[in-house]
Subunit: 470 residues, 2 copies
């Protein structure tokens, strides 16, 4: 970016909000970290990092960018896995890190309005202090921003009970690619006055506008819960047990699954023992909400019933919260264990539950045939049809060879996903990583319409250009 | 529409799917009823009525219409209150009445795929027979089509617990204004691959495409419930009691309110006695979900607590389902009683709960000052901030004078709604009725963007032209 523009921008916003790479007010590594996410596949390359403090600041920035044809990368908590927050072409990086205030709390409705840069975990704390609960929860909440959660329609471990974040968004304020500020809804639950434009921003990965303020509906925290850890002989049984929960009177809070490989890696990395006397191919972590003492008896009856029906090989109910935490460790420790023990190629996909077994069988056959050296670790939010599929690098293979091969594996896998009516990205989005493969999940006409919609909000294509599609 | 085009269309679809006004295969009144809704303010005027039986039929129709520049009005159950389904300019009316089949049921996920013309009540029955529950419920479910529910983002009496229909839509198939068929999602819960275009169709009132197939997520029916009928001294108390429910352990299924005028009209029309010993200005119908016997004690404690805090003047818990039905009659009988006893001008609006009291006070003052002869009846889904505001015609006024005056009242009211950050249409949509007032709820830039979005799906503006905006 040209020096005179950098100067103009500094004058526009004030020096405390404008960081230039050449100024070295940050160490270079820290500076550049604002332009990458967790994919680690891309190199950051940019000169200007901005820290707006208000919607007005963001509007100033985007008006300036519109006027001067400057590309923008919105930067949140950078916990993404698709390269959506990567600045690699001398874009201006706009970090919302300083926009983390609570703007309004509505105790009547049960709603909160915050700036987009609020860290998800802080939001959880804020609302719990006020006697409410915000149910969107996942591993990265300690860093992720609420606007980033929206920009990727974050899911997590409670979707099976509370739905994705989309269901909790009442209103938002956004700044479009022309610098205009749009306010959608606010604290009203119902508003049928034309197209619900805010829905487009949910999952838009920063390509339509910068989400500066968000109003979220809140709910009540589940009173109590019990965690069951189940060992299952095959994939079909995972779904059978899930189906059993539909008729069961207690609400399911989470229905997560993990394969034996995942357990082994967690045991190895965390130095814990195997949770079951004998290994099984698959495990399910099932959490039920309970409200009354008598619910405990219901739980035992449930466990008895699935045991009698031979759906599980083993299973136990956590007797207290400490044991529940121990159970959860096997699920929550997976990502960290895999990535510290191995070089991993991740895929986050979803399938109709009814097609899941056929897909996994076909996927195993595909890998076995074409890439016999690769092993893979499966886990995910199975109640949502969401698989995290991790391919592990063989130890005698070079990283670059591995990733090059994975690049060839992906289209084969995506073809299978398409065949089984699934999605090539369940939660993580498209970003840079999957844009070449968007056609496996979206039709040509749809992509064309998406581009026209982008043009309506961002006529000069300055907002996160090259993300999702070119 | 020209005769040769009518002939071509008959050849294209077959005579059994094409009804021409001049054929008189329907009585004229029945024929024309396919081109109006419940507003009764508009006259139907059209020559051609089509009954497609499949998505392919609809695609044929819209391709033909696109090719020949013919305007289309999608016709569902015609239970709308905004003129969204009115054909008054010689449009082709496309009724989905014959597209009412169940296409697929997924017991694993708990989901059903149906054709868009399925009647909502039939869908309820279908899924209940299969051990599931579809929670979107409102007075017109006996006639309304599921695609129509989507096209208006239907709400109803369970929104406070289950959210609007938007939260239950997994997938849909639509035909756009060029005759192209788009399939969104299907049986997957999570799909973050670019903009979620199906969200635009929810609430689009037939202006972006015809929704031919819908996949809905299902849930479990509340095990049991108890209904409380409360009498309150003022508006503030309605909100205070609502706030009390947040911390209360049982889930709220409905939180409806009605004014004394409504009760009087229901008593008069249905010939029932007043439900309370003394009249109060406002009443609340509050339904809690219960799952355990001990919940009954909780309910009594709740009633005791709000009585002690002097939030209510009177209140009782229905002792059995018969009494609960009696309580519900006072709420469900309002619309019918009002419209049979009076000429009514309806408005369906929403406000932030926190602004509701100030709005109602201001609204009363406005009517008192400018239209002292008008009385009004208030009721609605107050837990959602949704008011149904009914202005009653003075008995000595002519209908046309009344409606002409109401046309002048509306902008004043909409201005107040705008001032208090509300919406001029909570559930009913914009249609023809409120399109001149869209600017009170949506900014100019937004309306411009909506038009660009419409162009992307419907480049020739043949889909329900003139609805929502010109």
């Amino acid at each position: 970016m040209e020096t005179d523009l950098q100067e103009k921008l500094t004058n526009l916003l004030g020096r405390e909000k404008v960081f230039l790479k050449k100024d070295a007010r940050f160490a270079e590594e820290e500076f550049l970290s604002y332009g990458i996410d967790r994919t680690k596949l891309y190199q950051a390359n940019f000169q200007v990092l901005l820290f707006p403090e208000s919607t007005e600041d963001v509007a100033k920035i985007l008006s300036f960018a519109y006027q001067h044809d400057l590309a923008i990368v919105p930067s949140g908590g950078r916990t993404g896995y698709a390269g959506g927050a990567v600045a690699h072409q001398d874009e201006i990086v706009v970090s919302l890190a300083k926009m983390d205030a609570v703007l309004k709390f509505d105790a009547l409705l049960g709603a909160i309005t915050v700036q987009g840069g609020m860290i998800t975990q802080n939001l959880h704390q804020e609302v719990e202090d006020k006697g409410f609960y915000f149910p969107v929860d996942f591993a990265a909440t300690g860093s992720s921003h609420i606007a980033g959660n929206l920009a990727t329609n974050a899911g997590g471990v409670r979707v099976v009970r509370f739905g994705p974040i989309r269901n909790w968004v009442l209103g938002m304020k956004v700044v479009t690619g022309t610098g205009e500020v749009l306010s959608f809804n606010g604290e009203i639950l119902k508003n049928n006055t034309g197209y619900d434009l805010k829905q487009l921003f949910i999952g838009s990965e920063g390509t339509l506008g910068i989400i500066t303020e968000v109003t979220l509906k809140l709910t009540q925290k589940p009173k109590d819960s019990r965690v069951l850890f189940l060992a299952l002989p095959d994939y079909a049984k995972i779904l059978q047990v899930f189906q059993e929960t539909h008729a069961f009177p207690l609400p399911v809070l989470t229905y997560e699954f993990l394969s034996e490989v995942c357990i082994q890696k967690v045991c190895h990395h965390l130095g814990v023992t195997h949770p079951f006397a004998a290994a099984s191919p698959y495990y399910v972590l099932l959490e039920f909400e309970i409200t009354h003492d008598s619910d405990e008896d219901e739980l035992f009856r449930f466990l008895e019933s699935i045991t009698e029906k031979e759906m599980i090989e083993d299973g136990s109910i956590a007797q207290n919260s400490t044991q529940a935490e121990v159970f959860w460790k096997y699920r929550e420790g997976i990502s960290e264990s895999l990535s510290l023990l191995h070089t991993v190629h991740k895929n986050d996909i979803s399938l109709p539950l009814a097609n899941m077994e056929a897909f996994i069988t076909a996927m195993q056959a595909l890998l076995q045939e074409k890439y016999p050296d690769f092993s893979f670790a499966l886990f995910g939010h199975i109640g949502d049809g969401n698989l995290h599929l991790n391919i592990l690098k063989p130890s005698d293979m070079l990283d670059e060879d591995f990733f090059a091969t994975c690049k060839k594996v992906d289209p084969d896998m995506f073809q299978l996903i398409q065949k089984y009516d699934g999605s090539i990205s369940a939660e993580h989005g498209i970003g840079l990583l999957k844009k070449d493969f968007l056609g496996f999940s979206r039709e040509k006409v749809e992509i064309q319409i998406m581009k026209e919609i982008k043009r309506a909000f961002d006529p000069k294509n300055i907002l996160n250009p090259g993300k999702i599609f070119d």
